[in-house]
Symmetry: C2
Subunit: 492 residues, 2 copies
């Protein structure tokens, strides 16, 4: 594919400056228009070493208002980033609404350079391509414009440029042996890049190949493509998405539907449960040590009715964990800042590193519970969310080797009323009950329906839901701890 492009020369050298100037002006205006339209934009510049990535960024940056863009030069991941799923650091770098994120190299070069050492790169890269397509599609569905460029030069041209840089004392030290080594493997890399570009060239995030031998031609084509695409966006002529990259089949919901009950089969005495907890907690401590030592991450998401006992349950489950190895992420309504991003980003940010246990006190399932019921998002948005969440969870498990435990704490409507009244009458607990709790209770049936849909559509093999019968809070604590331990054991 890359070979089919001829190297073209800009016909009229004199017209170059003028053309460029008018593109810059146009891009500057488009930046303001998209800001006013709240559209986030991602521009990815990839290419061979010495193909002019930095120079291209330099040219684009000159057209932009610094208040409205961020430049991300992607290098090797830091230790912290390496301890997280592959796409984690790119999720954190997605632009807020109305802003532009420019990537000098991206998830693509990282995927290719990390996979090329391995055998069977074709299969491995295919997995990465699927995950990248999901990532880009999710951003696109959220309104992000994504433009991707590959700067192409021949091996001979690359050699000349590297030699030129070596002759200049200012740049000589940048041309390392590693870069020459990659140069020598140009022919081996070419088919991998072609394959990867083909698999990730989608309507929602298209690639443009830039023939970069003639720098002026490259810049003009880059600008022309960007301006044309953003013009379309600004005029609301967003193309209809048809060509979707082939998606890996998502792990299907389990055949046995998740049963919702608020009471366990038989009664348990408090003493019985406390004794069980006591012995389990020692085992839990051991499991936690092993997870920590083997750098396996674990996520625990707590959802449930108001007053179902999430707080107390978390306290018991964590009592015998090492406090340096777990953390609780309390989730409430998104802040103004968080609302500027894709709704999943604020959760992905808190994903655990290898060895850590992240406990979410409420979670990303808010999208299909409170946000659905209270109309904080549109129906297409929460309908889409089931698949997006399944993808996100699958990506986490597959790329980190970790596990996800999801608890739905079920109580009966009568039990909730009893607990609300108890709280209202206890001066030490009255702060726990708010008007909002009573309002939510009035919408019990709507929430009930949302919970059913959530359990049916997001209980997957890799991240199944566990319903905790919580009318009996002691039983609930034992069951939660046991479930966490069973999952942890499977991961070891």
């Amino acid at each position: 594919m890359l070979e089919k492009y001829d190297l073209k020369k800009t016909a009229d050298e004199g017209a170059y400056e003028k053309t460029l100037e008018s593109y810059k002006e146009r891009l500057n205006i488009l930046q303001r228009t998209l800001r006013d339209q709240n559209v986030p934009t991602i521009i990815v510049i990839e290419g061979w070493n010495a193909s002019g990535i930095t120079m291209s960024i330099h040219e684009i940056v000159q057209a932009l208002d610094p208040r409205g863009f961020a430049l991300h030069a992607i290098e090797k991941p830091t230790e912290e980033e390496r301890a997280r799923p592959f796409l984690w650091r790119f999720w954190l770098r997605t632009p807020p609404r109305g802003k532009i994120a420019l990537f000098a190299r991206s998830w693509y070069s990282r995927a290719i350079s990390e996979e090329m050492q391995k055998h069977a790169w074709e299969k491995s890269l295919a997995g990465r391509a699927d995950r990248i397509n999901n990532f880009e599609r999710q951003l696109y569905d959220d309104g992000t414009v994504i433009l991707k460029f590959f700067l192409h030069i021949t091996k001979e041209e690359q050699k000349q440029r590297l030699e030129e840089r070596e002759r200049n004392p200012l740049t000589a030290w940048l041309v390392t042996p590693a870069i020459w080594n990659i140069h020598r493997h140009y022919e081996d890399t070419l088919p991998i890049i072609e394959h990867f570009i083909t698999r990730t060239d989608t309507d929602y995030a298209p690639w443009t190949i830039i023939e970069a031998t003639d720098r002026k031609y490259a810049i003009v084509k880059l600008y022309a493509t960007i301006v044309k695409a953003l013009d379309k966006q600004a005029e609301g002529l967003k193309e209809v998405k048809q060509k979707r990259a082939k998606q890996k089949e998502l792990s299907r919901p389990r055949k046995n539907p998740v049963k919702r009950r608020s009471s366990p089969d038989r009664k348990f005495s408090k003493d019985e449960c406390q004794e069980a907890l006591g012995s389990l907690q020692i085992e839990m401590l051991e499991l936690h040590y092993l997870l920590y030592k083997r750098k396996i991450p674990l996520m625990i998401a707590y959802e449930g009715w108001d007053a179902a006992g999430k707080g107390g349950n978390i306290t018991r489950v964590t009592r015998y964990m090492n406090p340096l190895g777990y953390y609780v992420v309390p989730v409430s309504a998104p802040t103004e800042h968080e609302k500027q991003y894709h709704y999943l980003r604020r959760f992905i940010k808190h994903f655990p590193m290898g060895g850590d246990i992240a406990i979410f006190d409420r979670s990303w399932y808010g999208r299909v519970l409170v946000e659905r019921v209270e109309n904080y998002c549109s129906e297409p948005e929460w309908q889409r969310a089931y698949g997006e969440i399944n993808e996100m969870e699958e990506d986490f498990v597959n790329s980190s080797g970790g596990g996800i435990v999801k608890f739905w704490l079920e109580i009966s409507k009568e039990e909730q009323l009893r607990r609300f009244q108890q709280r209202a009458n206890d001066p030490l607990k009255v702060y726990k009950i708010t008007d909002e709790d009573w309002r939510n209770r009035e919408r019990w049936d709507l929430y009930d329906k949302a919970v059913d849909a959530m359990l049916a559509r997001t209980s997957t093999d890799i991240a199944p839901w566990t319903v905790i019968e919580s009318d009996d809070k002691w039983y609930a604590r034992v069951k939660a701890l046991k479930t966490v331990m069973t999952t942890a054991q499977k991961l070891l």
Copy 2:
């Protein structure tokens, strides 16, 4: 100092559980009270290896609502953190208003472990102690409660505990050769720790030594101290600060006062200036390469009257910088989130790594300009800010080896009016002029006074102000670029 404490036993073993339970309840209530009072709290737990830091954290955490605290386990700095000033990562971990930050180890163990390898630790640690005192005092002045604990055990006790851990397969792998090595140097470390604790034991951030041989005693003393201190805070009985740690003398403002003028001595033609710019920009590119290669950071802060030409000036100065080696930080009013922290934190967050140039389009000087004039902060707050800013800049320069360039872009009141009118009449520039600009102009005299005070009180030897006579925008660009280059040359 550490030896003078006897090991005490809790008299009544049976009363222990009861005492602890009541402390936990009290701390839980205090957490809510301080949340309502918007008071941030820092609790630092330091101590010998195996002295029980994790266990202490575990106990405290059980009393707290997870929504209101964050636990920071401080280990070796990451690559990114190492590329920044020593206190940078701790600034980012300070708690927002109403929340608690718990530190399992902190800036103290890092300072000691990093310095102990070097010769002349006494002098070196003294410098660290001064900087830490400044850090803690600035947080205290902003309303933060700071409590610091050192868990003390004897060398013999430490040996027994390490051996005990080695016998347990779950913990054996944690007792590394490095830990035994530190154990062997217990006697050498003791005076260093004593010295450091003495120098940083202040009224605004006091130390409490916890005799940690008897674990129950240690926990009770820890809780008792925390609850007592927070009780005082909650009741508004905050102690009067008298005992201030001896501060290093701050770099004094320069004797030559900074002269403010809006026009240069002689007229410059546009052609003359553009030519100068052209040749300087090549040199600038070279300097930038060297800064980058030698990992020297540089900060450039732009302040100036509205319409003084900050944007255009930044564009020219950066035109020949490598876009991957600089970034522009646009500063506007703090967000709700940013307001929850010390006002300097949002700037410190963007401090450059070694090799980067950070350009602030408006800066931390907003505290003594717009925030002073518009009464967004109180007079004691902005009065305090001059010293705080000098300390912050000094800390950056001393700990990073980098430089700070500060520009005040001066224009005359008449020139500003001319530019406002020009903008208002140009359809492509009208978006640049807002009602707020006109309102600010009405307060010219108030701003004028604030600028004078700022230049007089914060132009220091290590971070002097440069006034840019900006009535002539071409001259202004040349002078700014020249100033940046002079500073960069001195740093190489």
